[in-house]
């Protein structure tokens, strides 16, 4: 039993799948277009810049999957840095990776803007950059190579759909926001709100406070919320941790599973368990296992094949229907 640590992506289970058909739509990019030179991935120095501490399931799984895949492919020279959630540090990290002579960069950006200095240096050295899970606002195939990840705005919309059918199209909803200023927060919020506005005008979003993506904060905010707004029907948490914090709060307030419908994003093991236990209504997955897809894309690119300028992976939904069976695949 406890304590359980992050499970490996059991076999191919929970592996990322590219969204079809739209996933790889749009312009493509080849080695010539990019203007890089071919090199052997195995012997190359590869840099991976992680944005946040490997201290939540998503980051742990993400870093792990990159490292595992590199090992699998026999890439011996993988350099990993971690920006500890400080953006300035991530810029410096990547610059120092470049200084150490990496030939391929995989970056999990903490923020979408502000990559100018890195992009310049990389471009000067023609180092291909693959960004995972978050975008970089720049030109694909020139500033950077390509983006692999989920569409957070889309995740927000799908969360909204689940909330709407959970509440039968009407009721009061509270949002537990992620960390302020964070792109993920912004997009998951906008996606949710836009969708609700367009499809269920009778749902009012009566409350939105930040839980900073952390469980304790989620719990505290929810405690305040249900105490002063007892009439709330649903809670949209922008990540699983806050949702689970909310669950603890509801338990503490003597609520029953399902009294308040909770929808969240990520798809961590505990959250899927939460669905099975009836506390969560649905969870929109955001799949962190970028390793295989990233290196596959890189290899294709180095082989001279055309690769799409953005690879959107198809995230699944977890709900009472599939929760129990897919527990093994959740991260």
């Amino acid at each position: 039993e406890e304590p359980q640590s992050a499970p490996a992506a059991a076999g191919s289970a929970g592996q990322q799948v590219v969204q079809t058909p739209s996933g790889t739509a749009g312009p493509t990019c080849t080695l010539e277009q990019f203007g890089g030179t071919k090199f052997d991935l195995k012997t190359a120095t590869v840099g991976f810049s992680q944005s946040e501490k490997e201290a939540n399931p998503f980051r742990i799984a993400e870093t792990k999957s990159i490292k595992d895949e590199a090992e699998k492919l026999g890439i011996t020279n993988l350099k990993v840095t971690n920006a500890q959630s400080q953006f300035s540090k991530q810029i410096t990290d990547v610059q120092q990776l470049i200084a150490q002579g990496v030939q391929l960069l995989v970056i999990a950006p903490l923020n979408s803007d502000g990559w100018e200095p890195v992009l310049q240096q990389a471009a000067a050295k023609k180092i291909p950059i693959i960004t995972v899970d978050r975008k970089i606002n720049a030109k694909a195939c020139s500033d950077y190579l390509t983006f692999i990840g989920s569409d957070f705005y889309e995740q927000g919309k799908r969360a909204a759909d689940r909330m709407i059918d959970a509440l039968g199209g009407k009721g009061k909803v509270a949002i537990l926001l992620g960390a302020p200023g964070n792109n993920v927060t912004t997009e998951r919020t906008n996606g949710f709100k836009d969708r609700v506005k367009e499809k269920a005008p009778e749902i009012t979003i009566s409350f939105e406070q930040t839980g900073e993506f952390a469980r304790e904060k989620g719990q505290q905010v929810t405690e305040q919320l249900i105490q002063s707004n007892p009439d709330i029907n649903g809670i949209y948490a922008e990540n699983d941790e806050m949702a689970l914090g909310a669950v603890t709060a509801l338990k503490g307030a003597g609520k029953e599973p399902g009294d308040i419908k909770i929808v969240s994003v990520d798809g961590t093991r505990s959250a899927v368990q939460g669905i099975a236990d009836g506390w969560l209504h649905a969870v929109i997955e955001s799949n962190p296992r970028f390793g295989p897809l990233a290196f596959e894309t890189a290899q294709k690119f180095l082989n001279g094949d055309a690769i799409p300028d953005k690879v959107i992976i198809s995230d699944r939904d977890y709900d009472t229907g599939n929760a129990k069976d897919s527990l093994g695949e959740a991260y």
Binding site: T92, A99, N111, G114, G181
Partner: protein, 317 residues
């Protein structure tokens, strides 16, 4: 030179020595450490913290502390990026003006009401970040730097080092002169060393304090603006905990938090120390984030102890 002088020099330059040792060890341990490129990345990324640390040095020598610099840094960046759509001048003046005013307010409150700088600037830390979130609708909008000339200010290079480095160097020199060779500098030391006595010796205590906080505010804003130019966007998630880095750098540099003693050289060395420590950790390549923190914590402790023992050469009676 006698014992006091020796030990004073040690206290001020203990950090420099530790830095030197660390660099040597580093370049022996990793061959990709002492490369120009890596050195450049350390120096460039340190320059922004250095600018803030210069202001912090004045504040701390005067016996105060400024926790608002982290928030002013990010606010300055956002304002600069926002202002850049109206051209270079606005991009520079807007952040300086606003951050200067914040510094002025904090200085006035501290000097006039005698409230603890720690708490006043803690309020500043909160309030300013709030302000930043307010003008970037809760941090959702990131203004991009439109003005090329302004962007160049953060990205252009001379001798392989980008402008911010040169600006920092210039500021550091100016600060040294200001601190050691002007009446204002003397007043800063005096009120830090013994405020009551300074007042009785005819030092304009209140005014000096106000100046000090204005300066700190201005420099934090400037650092933010330059950083925005470098990133060519007003990133809203910057500067959290930056004040602690700045304070650590200054104190490692041999400046006493109790005020009255210290200098710019040490602070700059302190900043570089922090940068080098980070760089060394990156050289190792595959430490988990948790271990990285343990290591930098140990490093920090090691450095302050070393610095302290060096300066203990002086026995106070």
């Amino acid at each position: 030179m006698n014992r006091e002088q020796l030990s004073r020099t040690l206290q001020q330059h203990g950090a420099v020595m530790v830095l030197g040792t660390l660099v040597i060890v580093g370049s022996l341990a990793f061959d990709s450490f002492a490369t120009p490129a890596n050195a450049a990345s350390v120096v460039v990324s340190s320059s922004f913290l250095a600018i803030i640390a210069i202001g912090m040095t004045f504040v701390i020598i005067s016996g105060g502390i400024d926790l608002s610099v982290g928030s002013l840094f990010v606010l300055g960046g956002v304002l600069a990026a926002y202002g850049s759509q109206y051209g270079m001048l606005v991009a520079l003046l807007l952040p300086l003006a606003v951050c200067g005013v914040v510094g002025l307010l904090q200085g006035l409150v501290i000097a006039r009401t005698g409230m603890a700088p720690f708490i006043v600037t803690l309020a500043g830390l909160l309030g300013v970040r709030g302000l930043m979130l307010a003008i970037s609708d809760e941090g959702a909008t990131t203004y991009l730097v439109k003005d090329r000339a302004f962007a160049a200010l953060g990205q252009g290079e001379i001798l392989g080092l980008s402008y911010p480095v040169h600006i920092t160097a210039a500021l550091a020199l100016a600060a040294m002169v200001l601190l050691q060779r002007t009446g204002f500098g003397q007043n800063v030391y005096a009120i830090g060393g013994n405020e009551q006595a300074a007042a009785l010796m005819g030092v304009p205590v209140a005014r000096t304090k106000v100046y000090v906080y204005v300066m700190s505010g201005l420099l934090a804003g400037l650092a933010g603006a330059l950083n925005a130019a470098r990133l060519s966007s007003g990133v809203t998630i910057l500067g959290i905990g930056l004040e602690l880095d700045a304070i650590a750098a200054v104190v490692i540099g041999g400046t006493l938090l109790t005020g009255g003693a210290g200098g710019i050289t040490g602070s700059v060395a302190g900043v570089l120390l922090l940068g080098v420590i980070q760089s060394l950790i990156n050289q190792v390549g595959n430490l988990t984030s948790a271990f990285q923190q343990v290591v930098s914590g140990l490093f920090l402790a090691l450095v302050v102890v070393a610095q302290r023992l060096l300066s203990k050469a002086q026995r106070l009676t």
